[in-house]
């Protein structure tokens, strides 16, 4: 059985604890990088990460993009939406089609 995790600043991710997700309150790039590789090796299928936290470790996230698990999903932090999650979607379209045909 696999598990789900949430990474981000305390205020943004605390609520997810109630749903039974594993919550990791990390905001430093090195720690997040280590955490992600530890989670990936330890049966975590889904990792939700807040957009500001994801922006710190974009290389690590890109590394897991082509592997089957875990699925790393960007979610808005408490400060609001930065649009990074949507941007990743547009990037995928651009990669597949050759140009961004959404919108």
């Amino acid at each position: 059985m696999y598990k789900a995790a949430v990474i981000g600043d305390s205020a943004s991710v605390s609520g997810f604890a109630a749903l039974g997700l594993s919550v990791f309150r990390e905001t430093e790039p090195e720690k997040i990088t280590k955490l992600i590789s530890r989670l990936a090796a330890n049966d975590f299928a889904v990792i939700y990460i807040t957009e500001p936290a994801a922006a710190l470790v974009s290389n690590t996230i890109a590394k897991y993009r082509s592997s089957k698990l875990p699925s790393i999903v960007l979610i808005p932090a408490i400060e609001g939406n930065t649009g990074d999650g949507m941007r990743a979607l547009h990037e995928a379209v651009e990669k597949a089609v050759g140009s961004d045909i959404l919108n």
Binding site: Y2, S12, A18, V46, S66, K68, I75, A88, A92
Partner: protein, 216 residues
């Protein structure tokens, strides 16, 4: 186009013809694969976009509640309230094969069936906004799982489409023209050799006839 570096022999010619046939076949198959992947990708990406918008909206909503709860309650109390969750989520991962891209599918299972088990705290010392935040998150959670599934599928498919497209292009613009040109070259060379053999034979025949019968 560059001609391949091979000896102009009949053996090479028949080998190349076979290679050209399988390259054409591979090209057709890969092109079909690319088209079908693209079709499925477009369906998925539309759903993905829709879902992401919904999830982002819902989480923003929950975050608003959370921000209010955080300002009404003491930070420590808030943290303590959420410290020991009653609920635990488990994910079962199965695989689905879409045009030989293996995409994961997630099924969630909660530890307890009771939907009220998301509130891991007493109502007395917590703000109502915390309930709102937790409730909003719980409502959007199935969509979040679907989003995780579909985003992964889109990423994997985008990779595969890119790979397939490169293969199709390599076959179409490099390998097939190369083979065709080399085949043409060998055919020309062989018929040239044939002609040269014929002419030299005719010449020899002339010479022999001239010698023995004094013909012109």
């Amino acid at each position: 186009m560059a001609r391949l570096n091979v000896n102009p022999t009949r053996m090479e010619l028949s080998k190349l013809k076979k290679k050209l046939a399988s390259a054409r076949r591979g090209h057709k198959l890969l092109k079909d694969k690319r088209d079908e992947l693209m079709r499925q990708f477009m369906i998925l990406i539309k759903e993905n976009r829709q879902l992401r918008t919904e999830v982002e909206q819902a989480i923003n909503e929950a975050n608003r509640y959370m921000a209010v709860a955080g300002s009404v309650m003491q930070r420590e109390v808030l943290e303590t309230a959420l410290m020991l969750p009653k609920q635990e989520v488990e994910i079962k991962v199965t695989e689905k094969n879409v045009m030989s891209v293996y995409i994961p599918e997630f099924t969630t299972k909660f530890r307890t069936e009771d939907t009220n088990d998301i509130y891991s705290y007493g109502m007395a010392f917590t703000s109502i906004d915390l309930d709102g935040a937790v409730c909003a998150l719980s409502a959007v959670f199935p969509k979040m799982i679907r989003l995780a599934e579909i985003e992964k599928a889109c990423q994997l498919m985008a990779d595969e489409i890119e790979k397939t497209r490169r293969r199709v292009n390599a076959l179409e613009h490099i390998m097939i023209p190369d083979y065709e040109e080399t085949i043409k070259f060998i055919t020309m060379k062989l018929s040239e050799n044939e002609r040269s053999t014929t002419t030299s034979l005719m010449k020899v025949k002339d010479m022999v006839l001239k010698q023995s019968h004094n013909y012109h």
